[in-house]
């Protein structure tokens, strides 16, 4: 086993005005190190100017997503060993504008999250004094999977449609809409359908399916969107018939 491995990290410094360039760093190849540990090693001991985001180092905060050897990856869950003998290419997440080095601009994603109205919409609130809404374990299971999203944006990086059409609402946001649609406490289905059954919402997805493949949390946005389309189509025919009968 070699003792070192090479990282090829894409560096981008806006102040320099130039295009991004790869920079190589040699780091120890340790069995308990993930790519993020290697970046931290670089930051602490080799080159303090390298910028990237991270926090939890346990795959739950969603901040450390990058392209590793061309695949959208959570760098805190990617052991160096699995890329041996290297080199390992580390780039910022694809399809997002790069602010600097490995840091991408995420506000478009944040806007999209908000656009799908990810909160419980009710016609009538039940007062707290009447206790909790009842929800059986099966009803919980209906949407649980879609509530596991850590907003890491890997699926946006994997989705070619988002790469081509930045207007596309995108996998995680649509899955989040489904998370609320399928929650029996929520009554916002129609409102969200109004918003999302358009050319930039569910109908932009061509079912590439890569979003689900790269998702580190098993959210399956592709499935969520597919179910959403079915509901959307049913809705459309229904409204056609009701319109006719008026």
């Amino acid at each position: 086993m070699p003792t070192n491995i090479t990282l090829e990290v894409l560096r981008y410094m806006p102040e320099d005005g130039g295009a991004p360039v790869f920079q190589e760093y040699e780091v120890p190849l340790r069995s308990d190190w993930v790519v993020l540990d290697a970046l931290n090693h670089v930051k602490d001991h080799i080159d303090g100017t390298l910028s990237y985001r991270w926090s939890c180092r346990m795959g739950v905060c969603g901040s450390c997503g990058m392209m590793v050897n061309g695949e959208p990856t959570l760098t805190c869950a990617a052991f160096l060993e699995s890329f041996a003998p290297g080199p390992i290419r580390v780039e910022p997440l694809a399809h997002f504008p790069v602010i600097r080095d490995l840091v991408v601009e995420g506000s478009d994603f944040m806007t999209k999250l908000k656009d799908v109205k990810p909160w419980v919409i009710r016609k009538e609130e039940k007062p707290l004094s009447e206790g909790e809404y009842r929800q059986t374990p099966e009803e919980l299971a209906d949407f649980k999977q879609y509530s596991m999203c850590i907003n890491c944006m890997l699926c946006y990086s994997a989705c070619p449609v988002y790469g081509l059409e930045p207007g596309f609402t995108g996998p995680a946001a649509l899955a989040l809409a489904q998370r609320y649609n399928l929650d029996n406490r929520d009554q916002g289905n129609e409102e969200r359908m109004e918003l999302l059954s358009n050319d930039e919402g569910i109908w932009s997805c061509t079912m590439v399916g890569e979003c689900s493949e790269v998702c580190p949390k098993g959210v399956d946005p592709a499935g969520a969107i597919q179910r959403y389309k079915l509901a959307g189509a049913a809705d459309w025919w229904k409204s056609l018939i009701t319109r006719k009968s008026k």
């Binding site: 981008y12 806006p14 102040e15 005005g17 295009a19 991004p20 061309g70 694809a94 399809h95 504008p97 790069v98 602010i99 600097r100 601009e105 059986t136 099966e138 299971a141 209906d142 070619p160 790469g163 081509l164 061509t206 079912m207 590439v208 399916g209 890569e210 493949e213 399956d220 592709a222 499935g223 597919q226 179910r227 389309k229 079915l230």
Partner: protein
């Protein structure tokens, strides 16, 4: 903040990467995806073929025999082998994806995805069997 202008104080220039035209050859999974989408051409071709069969049937036994002999041309057979691979790929990807759209429930029990795609395959085999039987027994 945008990507068009040069960097000026506190207004960083973002770097944007344009997706190349041939983005879909860069990853194997994307090639599979484009391949899946292109099976629709084979599907459309089959529709044309079936229309041709109808035209021959409507025009009488000679036309039908002529079509049959045309179909025996080696080049056409090769074409059909490829078309067959494509429609098989279409069927398989279709059945695998179908549980994603459908959620079936029996009472409180949710039918697992594997059973749905399994059911699809079973139906496929059955239907194909019936067609083959009907065809072979004339």
């Amino acid at each position: 903040m945008d990507s068009s202008s040069e960097y000026s104080l506190h207004h960083p220039k973002w770097h944007r990467h344009r997706t190349p035209i041939f983005w879909w050859v860069k990853r194997w999974v994307y090639i599979c995806f484009i391949g899946r989408e292109m099976t629709s051409v084979a599907v459309a071709y089959c529709a044309v073929l079936l229309t041709m069969v109808y035209r021959a049937l409507q025009s009488g036994p000679e036309a039908y025999a002529a079509l049959m002999s045309l179909l025996s041309h080696p080049a056409i057979i090769v074409l059909h082998v490829f078309a067959l691979l494509a429609v098989l790929y279409h069927s398989i990807t279709w059945f695998n994806l179908s549980p994603k759209a459908m959620v079936f429930r029996l009472g409180r029990w949710r039918v697992p995805d594997l059973m749905i795609s399994g059911g699809n395959y079973a139906a496929w085999l059955l239907i194909s069997g019936v067609i083959a039987w009907a065809y072979a027994t004339g």
